[in-house]
Amino acid sequence: MSRKSVQFTSSPLLASKTPIWRSQFIVALIALGFLGLIVRAAFVQVIENDFFKHQGVVRFVRTQDIPADRGKIFDRNGQILASSVAVPSIFASPEELDRDISKLTQLAKLLEMPLQELQNRTKDEDKGFVWLKRMVDEPLADQVKALKIRGIGVRKEYKRIYPEGEAVAHVVGYTTIENNGQDGAELTFNKNLTGHMGSRRIIKNRFGEAVEDMGQTVEPVDGQDLQLSIDSKVQYFAYQKLKDAVLEHKAAAGSVVVLDVNTGEVLALANYPSFTPNSHTNLTGAQLRNRAITDTFEPGSTMKPFVVGLALEQGIVTPDTIIQTGGGKLAMGGFTIRDDSPNGAISVRQVIQKSSNIGAVKISLQMPPQQLWGIFTQVGFGQKPQVPFPGLVGGKLRSYKTWHPIEQATMSYGYGLSVSLFQLAHAYTLFAREGEIIPLTLLKHDEHVSGVRVISKEHADEVRQMLHMVAGPGGTAPKAQTMGYSVGGKTGTAHKVQGNGYGNKYRGFFVGMAPIENPRIIVAVMIDEPTDGFYFGGDVAAPVFSQTVQQALRVMGIQPDMRVKPQIVAKAEPESF
């Protein structure tokens, strides 16, 4: 082969035969590659499918809580007493927190928190979430957002707001920051008020927007709204008048209860001192105590009408029976029972009107202890009231089997047993409802409620007339009178137990009803430890009764039943054409 015979278009290398194994080797390699892919595909798609699916889900699917609203609390007219509103809370995520000191200083300043404390709280870098400041104002949250610090965020939380403030604080109660009822109706009806949180599973895109619903949505269930029997206007007046009286008489505390006689609804229940439920920090026990239902005391003379009612029922006396009360002192078993002033021979009517202890004792000793115990029990003393509410107490009423005659005597004018103001108000439905005791409720129901008959209508009416005399001339509580409405009630003034005996501290109370012929409301007032010299129930509690009755009946739209001297200063002239 000459040199020239080799042309550039041909290559001697190509002419040489390639061994067959080379192409086979390549094919085998490619086949192996495909096999690898197939195995991997099978591994991903079949064998470990669940794992990979799960990993996908973890990266894109989020389970989101859907918050449920806590139910609102309304008064009987639909005014809001408690409602939840969304307020911002500020949190930090220490694991991704930007620890730029100048930014953190700004943040600490906004949060009114020392920088040191802020750093302490966010020290643990493993933590994903810590609250910095909860329930802040909207503008502050906006300022924090404007700082744009990585790892600092704002989240909405629900805060309970109580527009009526301290006036209804004890009835409505309050909740913890986690929205659990702590006191009052918030606690009693916590189950109904609390809703159930819902949830949904969604796919989020990289902007954090929800793009697909995974179809496992649980709808949230909002809490039920609650309508109380409280009338916020009556409650407000009652609270204001009570507060004025407590401050005026330099008293330690006071309570007032207003009941609707027809329906057994509690229209108002207020105590002073009270608290502001919107910011319930640094509260003292004295402020928190719902005295009207948790505090029991010896009811003093307010017991006498029950003794007289029973005596009338048993036919032992008539309203005109004369009782000899002598010179105002009665020695009995080593004790002396006293009247505030000597009354001489007085009728049963006057025993109530003048509040004669001796008269009440003489009437009560004509009856067996069992009967007396019976009426006290029937009107609810010594038993916890059947009203769902926290802190209710039953007071003390010992079994008649253990009574000594002197105890029976002192019980007839209200010493030796204890009741709460709520129980006392309840017991007086006996006279307002013509011999019936009715069940009470804190929830609105607006219907006439039937009661249990304890004494006959005739005798209950007779006692009610005596109660009317108490507020009249010659009675112990002329200050209970109110313009336009006839009233009746009973004063009570009780020495407080101090140590082993009775000291010179007092409680003054007044329980009454109006209008006297057809009572619509019962108002019970208690003033604890008045220290300005006045302590008789007729002086300290009766004026609160009078003012509360005046405003409550007006709010309820009840026409006055008494003649009032008109003081209308200007009359509208008919328009002339």
């Binding site: 509103v85 313009m483 309820m556 006055p560 003081q567």
Partner: protein
């Protein structure tokens, strides 16, 4: 045969693209729906907040304070109230009232029971100022 295959291929491709498009639309719409829903929730919360705010501006405490301090009003008493029976109002004793209004002051002896019926109260004279939250306040 080849033609049919090509046709089916095109059909499959169309269907696949359509699926992608639908999926995209569905996600886009879901995002919009979600935005709308959270907006609704936000507005709902805002409404609730404003309602509470309105109520706190209209509590008896505030109304009385403003009425007394700024408007120099005083509390109403029965002496300066004219009580008017609504026509044909059924009284507590079952009788129907006559449409005649009562005299300017209610007159009834204390000892005689009278039917007590819910009354429409009217504050006397042209000076009357009725406040929705509190009808017991009147100009002096």
């Amino acid at each position: 045969m080849t033609r049919l295959n090509a046709l089916l291929l095109i059909a499959v491709l169309c269907s696949a693209f359509y699926l992608v498009r639908t999926q995209y639309d569905s996600r886009r719409l879901y995002t919009e729906y979600d935005h709308a829903r959270s907006e609704a929730r936000r507005l709902d919360l805002e409404r609730e907040r404003l309602e509470v705010e309105r109520r706190s501006q209209g509590t008896s405490l505030r109304v009385e304070k403003v009425a007394k301090e700024q408007l120099h009003m005083k509390n109403v008493t029965p002496a300066i109230t004219q009580y008017v029976l609504e026509p044909n109002q059924v009284l507590a004793n079952g009788e129907r009232s006559t449409a005649e209004p009562l005299p300017s002051t209610p007159v009834a002896p204390t000892t005689q029971p009278r039917p007590v019926a819910p009354m429409k109260t009217q504050v006397a004279g042209s000076l009357a100022l009725k406040n929705e939250s509190s009808s017991r306040i009147e100009m002096p």
